[in-house]
């Protein structure tokens, strides 16, 4: 029987007390379908039980296992090691406080999306007919990959792609939310106007949400709302 293939994982380590940061190496067996998460869990089981890594559903629908693999934001449970080279560098998401090893404080994501409003229109209910072709921001996993990938989101005050896209979705169909409050939240130098059209967020989103596009639609909405006031005309209410 041939020796199973192995891969060297270089995993970012640090403790909540602040020891580290350093990179620990784990050589793990790998097959054609082994994912990064599989390998990390194997490393934790067989080599170092202190390795902190979060996961839940194991099939890309909960958004818990977001991390950077070779610098690129991915969901670890969906990312096969095959083809990533050797060694493979595994790091936590950027832009969020590291609580230890690969675990980050996801409050940085939830705390941003919540003020923007969380769109909750069930697919079975159906959105307004004319919106059927637009992306369902409801698909957002709140995984934080977009926040990590965004070149601007190092600023902790920046609302970030997910929150801004959530705001846009809420403004499309407020269903009881106050559109003016949402517009006021995003009309800020650290809100919608922070984005510089890099679209890195849309490139890494595992749910196909296109937050970049949503932010631009949001800006069009802001301009349509603010411009008439600039020329002194009657301020139109944001579309309900």
């Amino acid at each position: 029987m041939s020796t199973p293939r192995t891969v060297l994982l270089k995993v970012f380590r640090s403790t909540p007390a602040g020891h580290g940061p350093r990179y620990d190496e784990f050589r793990v067996p790998v097959g054609p379908r082994t994912t990064v998460l599989d390998a990390l869990l194997a490393a934790r089981r067989d080599q170092d039980p202190s390795l902190a890594v979060r996961h839940s559903c194991l099939h890309g629908s909960c958004g818990t296992c977001g991390m950077r693999v070779n610098g690129r934001e991915v969901l670890a449970c969906l990312t096969r090691l095959d083809g990533l080279g050797d060694p493979v560098v595994v790091e936590p998401l950027a832009g969020l406080s590291v609580m230890g090893d690969l675990v980050v404080d996801m409050e940085g994501v939830y705390g941003r999306v919540e003020p923007a409003g969380r769109p909750l229109v069930r697919a079975s209910e159906g959105a307004r007919p004319e919106l059927e072709e637009l992306e369902r921001f409801e698909d957002c996993l709140e995984c934080g990959l977009c926040l990590s990938a965004c070149p601007v989101a190092g600023d902790p005050r920046f609302l970030g792609p997910a929150a801004l896209a959530a705001a846009e979705r809420v403004l499309e169909e407020p269903r009881g939310a106050d559109p003016k409050a949402v517009l006021g939240l995003v009309d800020d130098a650290h809100g919608a106007w922070r984005c510089h059209a890099a679209f890195e967020c849309s490139a890494v989103c595992p749910a196909g949400v296109d937050p970049g596009g949503a932010i631009m639609r949001l800006r069009r909405r802001l301009l349509a709302d603010r411009l008439p006031r600039l020329v002194g005309r009657y301020h139109r209410e944001a579309r309900p």
């Binding site: 950077r68 832009g95 600023d155 679209f199 800006r219």
Partner: protein
């Protein structure tokens, strides 16, 4: 190979994230290049004002400078300047359009178009500067 810890970004940490090329797509490169050319052009603005101030010292001082600027090193710098200006301008136009919510679905095509225009303008400028 050291990498900075991916903690909450401020100042230097954010700047070092900008220097991390792994896993990034074209849009991020365009963003970074816009920042870089922008800062470079601001620096050039002040350099330009200083150079133009030589005019206050009369014809001899200025005409001497003009002779100096025909030196190939300076001509090469001029081509770089046009390249930076063209990139910042055309990519900036893309950012302005897309950032107003126009042609959002075509942002990749716009970037490609900007790249082509930048190449063309720079080429024409290089020819004119060196052989005109």
């Amino acid at each position: 190979m050291t990498r900075t810890g991916p903690e909450r970004g401020t100042g230097g940490r954010q700047a070092s994230r900008w220097l991390d090329p792994r896993g990034r797509h074209l849009g991020t490169w365009a963003f970074l290049a816009n920042r870089l050319t922008g800062l470079g052009l601001v620096a050039y603005l002040y350099l330009h004002l200083v150079i133009l101030s030589t005019l206050l010292r009369g014809p001899e001082a200025w005409d001497g400078l003009v002779r100096l600027f025909r030196n190939p090193v300076f001509l090469a710098f001029d081509v770089l300047l046009v390249l930076g200006l063209a990139f910042h301008g055309f990519n900036g136009l893309r950012v302005a359009l897309v950032g107003s919510g126009l042609l959002v679905d075509r942002h990749k095509a716009l970037l490609a178009a900007a790249g082509i225009l930048v190449g063309l303008v720079s080429l024409v400028a290089a020819v004119r500067i060196f052989f005109g």
